[in-house]
């Protein structure tokens, strides 16, 4: 067993994957390539990383109101993250998950952590998210 932390499920669901973590917020519009899953904000420190199929952890989204659309487009194209972790409820992420389910029956779990728990996440860790928000972390 790895380390277990308890998050608040914003949009419940199950997911498993490697973490991609940033302490810096991201706008998906201009920041996330909806055709590949690459982080394309050249001023962001995750620039060049690919988030498709990974569990993407960001404190919150910033800027553009088109963030939701880009995430839904990425779901449709099959290059969305497997799940999203933020600090507090991020309405752009939550809405994308609601729409992904409404339009495509796709489950995109979104969970929220306290800021101090968020700091325990590091890129490359393997994570399993359960419906109740339990996150099991393993250092791979």
């Amino acid at each position: 067993m790895g380390q277990v932390i308890y998050s608040r499920p914003v949009i419940s669901g199950q997911a498993e994957g490697n973490l991609l973590v940033s302490s810096e917020p991201l706008s998906f519009w201009g920041g996330y390539d909806q055709h590949s899953g690459e982080i394309i904000d050249r001023r962001h420190h995750l620039s060049g990383q690919n988030a498709s199929g990974r569990i993407l952890a960001l404190p919150f989204t910033r800027g553009s109101s088109t963030t939701t659309t880009i995430l839904v487009e990425a779901v449709r194209a099959g290059v969305a993250p497997a799940a999203l972790i933020s600090t507090g409820v991020d309405k752009f992420l939550a809405l994308a998950a609601i729409l992904a389910n409404e339009l495509y029956g796709h489950m995109l779990p979104v969970v929220a952590l306290q800021a101090d728990e968020f700091k325990e996440l590091t890129s490359g860790m393997h994570a399993i998210i359960c419906h109740d928000g339990t996150i099991t972390l393993k250092t791979s």
Partner: protein, 421 residues
């Protein structure tokens, strides 16, 4: 407090008013619960940002609602589309893209909306009033409405904006509630001379810093020596909404909810105080520029869309001059402003200078730029922020005069001016 629907809202959710209302109500109710709202609030108007075609998911959503007979319940303006409807074929826009962009624009027009096609709806006759609850998408518009006008809106994500417009309601949460509008971060301008504060780049640079440093706090700016006009505050809102995710901002003595420091913080003390000095401003200028050297292919002005005032200012600089043949000069604005500019003769003067004008959209939302345009120069913080990531091109930031001078000379020419650059 549990989330509760009124009888009328429950009827919408049950589909009594048709499938579009049902879909919209279902989505709004789900997000309201997620956000912990206890009820919905009625709104007076909406601004729809979901109009831009960025891919087939957004188009399918729009056409599904339109096919269900969706109609907005409140006056609703439209943000930019993904093409200039009447001029897209003059640029590099692929016809297949144009066709989908147009379908998405037509879907939203069919819902009884007002086709303003602009990201600066606050500079139209549809400008909301202080204290009104509205549902505005588009980060710069929501920031301006909240901060400068004192209307109450969240920065509505695309697709939620149209759902709120269709049911005429929003979740009672976030900036709709007075307590959530209090400033908590004090930004003090330290030894920034009046000449610098009067320079047309100042509010863009301040906006960049505000977005970068304030996180999701509500910053309060203190120490302003000037009285900014709408266009300056527009630059501030748009740039801070690009470089960061602040919900709104206050400026003591300028914005309506900040006549005093105490009012801006609603009687509380700032949680944090940050200083902004000339050094941060210089650093912001450097960060907004990614290009090296003096090579220049295009100057682009108008994010958010230029106002008639900005166009007048521009023609005072271009009068009797011509842009260099190797540099394209593009202005993006709204149909309404373009019409005014046409009638006043300003448009003809811009054309004489060598400028082209694009309406309904902008370079960030339509694939209009030819391949050979590699380096762009702009006075818009929002363009400067997004051009490298969205368009994979390099950018130079400068003031409007820097942009005009560089276009005439055919190469980037930034004056040292006040910045010691």
């Amino acid at each position: 407090m549990a989330f509760e629907l009124t009888v009328a809202e429950q009827a919408l959710l049950d589909g009594k008013d048709g499938p579009a209302q049902q879909t919209a109500m279902s989505i709004v109710a789900q997000i309201a619960e997620v956000q912990g709202a206890s009820k919905l609030l009625e709104i007076t108007q909406a601004h729809i940002d979901a109009t831009v075609y960025v891919g087939d998911a957004g188009l399918e959503f729009a056409e599904r609602l339109a096919a269900q007979g969706a109609k907005v319940a409140v006056p609703s303006t439209l943000n930019v589309g993904a093409i200039d409807v009447h001029h897209w074929h003059e640029w590099a826009v692929p016809p297949e893209w144009a066709s989908k962009a147009l379908r998405q624009m037509q879907a939203y027009e069919s819902m009884g909306t007002t086709p303003t096609w602009t990201c600066a709806p606050y500079q139209t006759v549809h400008r909301p009033k202080y204290g009104q609850h509205i549902a505005w998408g588009e980060s710069n518009a929501a920031l301006f409405a909240n901060s400068v006008i004192g209307a109450r809106t969240e920065c509505y994500p695309d697709m939620l904006d149209i759902c709120c417009a269709i049911i005429g309601r929003v979740p009672a949460t976030g900036l709709h509630l007075r307590a959530n509008r209090a400033g908590n971060l004090l930004l003090q301008l330290i030894e920034i001379p009046r000449e610098v504060q009067e320079d047309d780049t100042f509010f863009t640079l301040l906006g960049y810093i505000m977005g970068r440093t304030a996180g999701n706090n509500i910053p309060v700016v203190e120490g302003l020596l000037t009285e900014p006009d709408d266009d300056s505050l527009k630059a501030l809102a748009a740039t801070s909404g690009s470089s960061g995710g602040i919900p709104m901002f206050h400026i003591i003595g300028v914005t309506p909810e900040a006549p005093t420091r105490e009012t801006a913080f609603q009687g509380q003390s700032p949680e944090e105080i940050l200083d902004i000095t000339m050094e941060e401003l210089r650093h912001a200028w450097d960060e907004l520029t990614t290009a090296d050297g003096a090579h220049l292919d295009m100057v682009v002005l108008g994010s958010p869309h230029l106002s008639i005032g900005e166009i007048k200012r521009l023609i005072s600089m271009t009068e009797g001059k011509h842009a260099h043949p190797d540099v394209q000069f593009l202005v993006t604005t709204s149909r309404a402003v373009a019409h005014l500019a046409e009638q006043s003769g300003a448009m003809e003067r811009l054309r004489t200078f060598g400028a082209k004008v694009t309406v309904d959209t902008c370079i960030l939302t339509t694939p209009m730029l030819p391949e050979d345009v590699k380096v762009l120069m702009t006075n818009a913080g929002k363009f400067a922020y997004y051009i490298p990531g969205l368009l994979s091109r390099n950018v130079v930031f400068g003031g409007m005069e820097d942009c005009v001078r560089s276009a005439i000379e055919g190469r980037v020419h930034l004056e040292d001016r006040l910045w010691g650059k």
